[in-house]
Structure formats: structure tokens, C-alpha cells
Amino acid sequence: MSTVANSPLATGVAPIPVRPAHICRIEAEAIHILRETAAEFARPVLLYSIGKDSSVLLHLARKAFYPGPIPFPVVHVDTGWKFREMIAFRDRMAKEIGFELVVHTNPDGVAANINPIEHGATTYTDVMKTQALRQVLAKLGADAAIGGARRDEEKSRAKERIFSARGKGQRWDPKAQRPEPWGLANTRLLPGETMRVFPLSNWTEIDVWEYVRAERIPLVSLYLAAKRPVVRRGESLIMVDDGRFPLAPGEKPEAMSVRFRTLGCYPLTAAIPSTASTLDALITELRNSKLSERQGRLIDGERGDSMEAKKIEGYF
């Protein structure tokens, strides 16, 4: 199987560039936050979505606790609709790096056969992601969940804390956020509360890619452009990853050179046309890009504040 760092396409990567000072600073900050989380909480977990941000997070966790192992489990909420390559990649990483992997799928959702095609993005996301996440955090008795969200991703994230307390049912109250002067975390929790921790808060999308390149972090190859079978749905290009995708009568997926800017569940994540088949090309393309990162995410759309609304409900 191919990954960005060791795919044939990526062998053209230049020798490791000297890391810019600002990358060193945000790396050190993230490591500090990870260590703080390990020291302050009884049962932290790292949420791993297999995407570029969680891959960077995982890499930072290895660095933070070296020479010891990552001192908490790595949790993947599997909706059953991830790209196949992602699942294979996840299992390989767990073996190679040697972390404790916990995979959870909402059994109620499976029983009711909840899927993105028949039930729509909203119900599906709620059952298979939000509810599933609550279930696994409860099952593990997790008091802190570390995630790879960045503040530059979306407007409502720009004001979220690094240590963000969640009330009962993992709800986020944007008006009752604890101030974080000097990044000093108030990690105290009342019974029933949990903490979300975002070590990559101060990273931008470009920072992530520059870091992936500098550190040669392995990623799924879906981030780089290749010819893939896609169909058009409105303005979006959807990759047909397996036989579950309903094609219109007579519809045939066409092979297009595309890549993914973010990776979610395949029917909900649109590809973008691209020829950036190496990290260097990708970073150049990104610098010239005129569209925001979440454009490929079909759940954000409709209302201007739908991400904020989902987060209040407990979406990561």
C-alpha cells in the first residue's frame, strides 16, 4: 500500500529543509500541551481520525513522550464509511508505531443500518460520529480527549480554548469558556465533565503540510493527486470507493486526477481536481489556493454557523 512519505510519487521530495523557527515553536507548544494532558488527567485518550492532522498529532505524541511509549490509548471512531485505504493505513500504523488502538463503531447505528446515503449527512453524522464518540469516551472512562482541530479551520474554532471543558453529554458552551492566559490550563473538572484538548490549535493548514514534509510523516496517499474513479454530485466530486455507492442508472464513474484536502467518510468528502502528486507540488498548490480547507466537507454548508451548532451538540 502507498503512503505519501514512501509512495513512489513522493520519492522526489527534496532533502529535509531546515525547519523554520516558527515550526519549532508550534511543535514545542504542542508537545508541552500533550505532556500537560498526560500529567493532569487520569485517563486521557488521543482521538485519531487517520487524517493529516491526527497523523501529525500522533507523531507529536511520540516525540513528547520519547523515549517512553505514548501513555494513553489512541481511539478511532469508525463510521464504517471511511475510505478503505484509511483503515488499512490505521492498522499498519498501530503495528509499526506500537500504540494501543481502540476502534469503536456505534452498535445501535449498525443495527439500524444508519448510513450517509439514505439518512442524510445530519442524522448519519449525529449517530455514527457524535453518539459513537460519546459512547467510546464513556466506555473508556476518558476524562480528556485530545483532538487535532486547528483554530484556522473554521470561524467558530478561532475562539475555542486549547483546554476546552465539556459539560454533561460532551456539550460545548461557547459563552462559558475558561480564559487561558499564558496558556495556563485550568484542568479542573466537575463530575460528569470532560476536557477536549487541542494541541494543534495554533497550527495552520500550511504549517501541517510543512511539518509533514520536514518530519516525513507517513500519510494515506489520498492526499496526493492520482487518477481516481469519481462521480459528480452537484458541484462536488465524490470518489466511488466501494460497491455501496448508489450510481444513477447508466452512470459511470470517470477517472480523474483528484486529491482530498480533508478526509472524512467517503460519500461525504468531496475531492478536488488537482495534479499535485508530490508534497512539494501540494504545498505550492495550497499557497496559491483560493478556497478554504473545509470546502470539501459537505456537512458545513447550509447555515453560516452549522459547525458551531454541531460542536455545541458534542461534535468534535
Binding site: C24, Q177, P179, L291
Partner: protein, 626 residues
């Protein structure tokens, strides 16, 4: 040295890095001076606003293009049309990456502005050229300086509305200079228009009289003076023990630099060792400096867990139970000086109290005024007492080791941000000196058993009169007595204390200690102090330890006290001219079971004094014939 696991030692991370560095800055100023417009402009003109976001903002703009719409994140804020919380924005140019703490302009969100300033190296302070300096402009400059920002860019905005006139620009600058001088901050002033973009990223042809840099050029080139301390300090975050061979201290260097082989001392244990290795995932380092997240191993096993600080032996930060600090109050619930809070520093979490509030800072006039409490957004100067020693350095010397937050123990709310002004080295280095002469020796020499007579009651109850008579009787009888008068003590020993509940408590604590010392010297001490709180009187009794302590309640009804009013205080208090006056605007807690009850309304002072003398004789402190 042990074998290096990966590469050979390299220079510190910071030395290894090159190219683009990072500047964290704050944008502030009064609401409507154009802050959101300016940031929107910076983002658009540096090419960082994606087309889809730009299009969405364009659709929402009423007329023209509203740059502010690119920024306000939370729905609640959009509804109210104001910026409430600090939002973080990111952009970069070839020279630098920037993290912008975009802080709210309204006065009621001063605390958010302080939070934004806490991690910033520089502030961009917006002024509307038409309006000039507003109170909020001065307030923000003060808070920025207080939080440790040494460099301010004064962005004189809306120059398009003052015909790009040099005069308007200069008058804003002239107004600002004295304030900046008092604060000790460096100022770079730039005339610009956020709306048109002139002098933001592009140079303005409209202001030929201005030859300085554009805002972006200034941000890219200003060398922010680093406040980082010179000597090495390293708070231990966690101890890594993956196997019995390895014991590594993990953390981020708070100041200075460290090399393999350097001596270090662990605070608070005081044990010392040498740096054996500086371990990172990418290989061992030969040295590391401020900001590096590393793992240190030492040559010796010493006592140093999470919360300890490894430091250069010549510059160890103090571990103290008491310090003075600036507090920025952040909670709806006002500061309660009697309450237990949790103190969170970068190294410790410990129960703490605000033992006294000295002053409130008027951030506009730069004046300090006496205060009893702090409300949300107030800034004050306070004394903090912690249950056990914590590492606390001066904020001015070490922004990291001098910062803390206070957390409410019930709600877990973060109620204040604090900056250490002065750690108070107290008893930890002071040992109890033993002397040969014992209290028994002194008792024998003086022919009396020392005692503390504690007269309590409202102002005007007659405490001082009784005390005066008792001292007279005893002295004439050849005994050794002394009056400690609450009012008199406030002229000297306690002249730094006011009348808030906390300061009254401190007042009584000091009087109790002095009474105990005088009793230890063999004297019969007569304390005359209102001492309105039962718990403070109980504490005084505890302080006395084995010295005979008698609580004497001078019980004179308030109407009578007020009628006597020897110092005219009741009149003034009732007229509202004195705050916190016991019996008028502050409580008096009557003793439940005093050792002696005097009735000021139907006993003469002499009768009262007699009862005190009789008590002393009955308890064997003085001769029966006194």
C-alpha cells in the same frame, strides 16, 4: 555519558531553526476604531482569505465590502454585532508567521484583552484619527504594558476621514507619548486607513509626509525585545520512567539555556546535580534554550517531581508561601478575600487565599486607589497566601514563572489572572532561635503570670477607657502591664491596612502576634480592639497558645456608643462618609461566651476595670491585693 541513541548531539532546537520566525501580536483599541476592518484588510491583502469565505462575507455585507465579517466567529457575537471573545488569526509572509490575538474593544471585556496580551510580544493599538485617544485606548495600553508587552504600534486609523492630514496624526501621537512614557513602552506610530488599505500593506501616496514603514513592514521587521531571563530555569512537567535505567525530566525551558554537564538545583528540594543528557526524539542535544520542549536526565537521583523547577544554581527562583501580585479579575462573582481559591501556576496547584487587597489600579489615570474588592475586569494589587510553598518569580523577570490563575474551588471557574510582583521570602529560611531565659524565669522575676486581656466591642464602647484604668491600677500596684490599642497600632505597625474584612483580619492577626510576644516577655497585655469577627478572636486565642487569654466583651448598646461618639465617627459613617464602619455599615459579631461580660450602659468604667482586675487576681496572674 551514556551512548547516544540516535544522532550525535546537536545544537538546541532554536539554533537549528532558521528562516521564517514567529511573531505573536495583539490587536486592541476602542470599539469602532476599525480593528476588525484592519485585520480583515491584513488577511485579504496578504492573500490569505479564501475565495469562498470572501464570497460569503461579500454576500453578507450591506454595502461595499465589510471586512469585519471575515472575523466575527461565534453566532452570539454576530447577533450582537460585537467581538466578545479573543479570536486567534493566522497569516504569514516570507519573513514571518503571525499569530494575531484579536481582542474585543468594549470595556466589559477587558479581561479578554488581558488574556490576548498575555501571550503576545507586541500590540497594535488602534486609534480613530478623528476621535483621538479614548479612555479605552489608554486602558488597553496600560493593560498591554502590565501584561509584559514592551512594544506598541499605534495605528492611527481612518486617515481618509481627516484628509490624510499630518496634523491629525501628530496630535494623536503627542497625546499618547506621555502615557507611553509612564508605562515604559516603545511606540511606533503609523498613519493608515484600514478601509482603503493605505499604509496597511501598500504604501500610501496620499500621505507623502510620512516616511516610516507600512503596518505590515513594521510587523515583519520589528525586533521584539525578549524579556526572557538569562539564567536557566525548567519547570518539570512529568517524570518519564519507561524502564528502571531511565529517569528523564520532561518539560519546556522557561528561560536561559542549558548545556550537557551544567550544574542544576531542584527547587523546592534544594538538591543539586548535573545535566547528563538532553534527550529528544530526534537525538540528543548538546544544549537547549528557552522555548524548547526537551527531556533532561541528571547524573544523580534527586528529589524532583512534577512541579519542581530545575534551575541554574546562581539564579534559583524562590519557593514561597506569600507574594504580592497584580490580579485581573475575570469572574462575575467579586473577589472574596476570605475565600479559599486554587492557585494554578505553571508548576503547581495549591489552595490559596487573597490575604489582603491593597489597591485597585485606575488603568486610565495610572493611579492606585484603596479598594475592598475587585469586580469583573478590575485590576488590583493584592497579597496572596498559599497553603504550601510554590515557585513564584517576579513576572517582570520571568513571564512564565511569574504568572498564575486563580480557580474557584466550587465551580472550577477561572476567576483571575495574576502576575507576581514580589515573592516574600518568609519563614522557610528563618529558623527558630532558642534562648536560655525561659518564660518561667521571667515570670518569677516579675512576680506575676503573664496574661492577655482581650477587650472587644464596637467603637465608643469604652474599651480604651477600661484598658487605661486597668493598666493604671496594675502599674501602681507594681505589676508590669501594657495596653495595645487597636487605633494606635494603625498609626505604625498596621498603617498599610484598611478596613475591609480581609484587612481587619490581618490587623487582628498582627495584634495577636504582638500580644503574644509581649506576654512571652512577661507582661500582662491589655488589647483594646473592635475585633468584630468571632473567628479572628478565636484565632487570637489560638495564637496565645498556653498564655492565659481572656476575652472581655465591653457590651455597650450601639445607640449609646453612637451618642458618645468621642471621635465623631458614627456621625460621619451614617452620613456615608466612612465605609465599612462597624455597627453602621459593617457587622459586629457578639461573643457567644466571653470570659468576662462588661455592661457599658449600667456600669461605670471604674466598676468595669475592677471586674477585670478581680478576674486576673482570681486566675492567679497578679497578687490578690492589687
Amino acid at each position: 555519558m551514556t551512548a547516544l541513541p540516535r544522532n550525535a548531539p546537536q545544537a538546541g532546537v532554536a539554533a537549528k531553526a532558521s528562516g521564517r520566525d514567529l511573531l505573536r501580536f495583539l490587536t486592541c483599541g476602542s470599539v469602532d476604531d476599525g480593528k476588525s476592518t484592519l485585520i480583515g484588510r491584513l488577511l485579504v491583502d496578504t492573500g490569505l482569505v479564501p475565495e469562498d469565505q470572501f464570497a460569503a462575507a461579500k454576500r453578507a455585507s450591506k454595502d461595499g465590502f465589510d471586512y469585519a465579517l471575515l472575523l466575527d466567529g461565534l453566532a452570539a457575537e454576530r447577533e450582537q454585532g460585537i467581538t466578545i471573545d479573543v479570536a486567534y488569526r493566522y497569516f504569514s509572509t516570507k519573513q514571518r508567521s503571525f499569530i494575531v490575538a484579536d481582542s474585543p474593544g468594549h470595556e466589559q471585556f477587558t479581561r479578554n484583552m488581558a488574556t490576548g496580551a498575555s501571550t503576545s510580544d507586541l500590540a497594535v493599538l488602534l486609534v480613530d484619527a478623528r476621535k483621538g485617544l479614548l479612555l479605552q485606548t489608554r486602558r488597553h495600553a496600560t493593560i498591554a504594558a502590565l501584561m509584559g508587552i514592551r512594544h506598541v504600534i499605534l495605528a492611527v486609523n481612518k486617515m481618509d476621514l481627516v484628509q490624510y492630514g499630518e496634523h491629525a496624526f501628530n496630535s494623536v501621537l503627542d497625546e499618547f507619548r506621555p502615557h507611553a512614557e509612564k508605562l515604559g513602552i516603545r511606540v511606533t506610530a503609523i498613519p493608515l486607513s484600514a478601509l482603503t488599505g493605505e499604509n496597511v500593506v501598500q504604501r500610501a501616496a496620499s500621505m507623502p509626509w510620512y516616511s516610516g514603514p507600512t503596518l505590515l513592514a513594521a510587523l515583519e521587521t520589528i525586533d521584539v525585545v525578549s524579556d526572557a531571563p538569562q539564567k536557566f530555569s525548567f519547570p518539570v512537567q512529568r517524570v518519564s520512567r519507561p524502564n528502571s535505567e531511565f529517569r528523564g525530566y520532561q518539560g519546556t525551558v522557561a528561560g536561559g539555556r542549558v548545556r550537557v554537564g551544567d550544574p542544576v538545583v531542584a527547587i523546592p528540594s534544594g538538591q543539586s546535580s548535573r545535566v547528563q543528557r538532553i534527550v529528544t526524539f530526534d537525538g540528543d542535544l548538546a544544549e537547549a534554550s528557552a522555548g524548547d520542549a526537551i527531556t533532561i536526565t541528571l547524573a544523580d537521583e534527586i528529589e524532583a517531581g512534577r512541579g519542581a523547577v530545575l534551575a541554574h544554581p546562581e539564579a534559583t527562583p524562590p519557593a514561597v508561601e506569600n507574594f504580592t501580585a497584580h490580579l485581573v479579575w475575570m469572574s462575575d462573582a467579586a473577589l472574596d478575600t476570605g475565600r479559599d481559591y486554587l492557585l494554578r501556576t505553571p508548576t503547581a496547584l495549591a489552595p490559596a487565599r487573597v490575604s489582603a487587597l491593597r489597591n485597585r489600579l485606575d488603568v486610565v489615570q495610572l493611579a492606585e486607589t484603596p479598594a475592598e474588592t475587585l469586580a469583573k475586569n478590575d485590576i488590583g494589587l493584592a497579597a496572596i497566601t498559599v497553603e504550601r510553598p510554590v515557585v513564584a518569580d517576579r513576572y517582570a523577570d520571568n513571564r512564565r514563572l511569574g504568572s498564575f490563575i486563580l480557580v474557584d474551588r466550587m465551580s472550577n471557574e477561572t476567576v483571575a489572572a495574576g502576575m507576581v510582583i514580589e515573592p516574600i521570602l518568609s519563614t522557610q529560611n528563618v529558623f527558630w532561635q532558642k534562648f536560655d531565659v525561659s518564660r518561667e524565669d521571667r515570670t518569677r522575676a516579675k512576680g506575676q503570670m503573664p496574661a492577655i486581656i482581650w477587650l472587644t466591642g464596637p467603637s465608643g464602647a469604652g474599651k480604651s477607657t477600661v484598658a487605661n484604668l486597668v493598666e493604671g491600677v496594675l502599674t501602681r500596684a507594681g505589676h508590669h502591664a501594657y495596653v495595645l490599642d487597636g487605633d494606635n497600632v494603625r498609626h505604625g505597625l498596621n498603617r498599610d491596612l484598611g478596613f475591609s474584612a480581609a484587612e481587619r483580619t490581618e490587623n487582628i492577626r498582627r495584634i495577636s502576634e504582638v500580644a503574644r510576644i509581649l506576654a512571652d516577655a512577661g507582661l500582662i497585655v491589655i488589647v483594646a480592639a473592635i475585633s468584630p469577627f468571632a473567628r479572628d478572636r478565636a484565632a487570637a486565642r489560638a495564637t496565645a497558645e498556653d498564655v492565659g487569654f481572656y476575652e472581655v466583651f465591653v457590651d455597650t448598646p450601639l445607640e449609646i456608643c453612637a451618642k458618645r461618639d468621642p471621635k465623631g465617627l458614627y456621625n460621619r459613617a451614617r452620613a456615608g462618609k466612612i465605609g465599612n464602619f462597624t455597627g453602621v455599615s459593617a457587622p459586629y459579631e457578639r461573643p457567644d461566651a466571653p470570659d468576662l461580660h462588661l455592661y457599658g450602659d449600667n456600669e461605670t468604667p471604674l466598676q468595669e476595670a475592677r471586674k477585670v482586675i478581680d478576674l486576673l487576681a482570681r486566675k492567679g496572674h497578679i497578687r490578690a491585693d492589687a
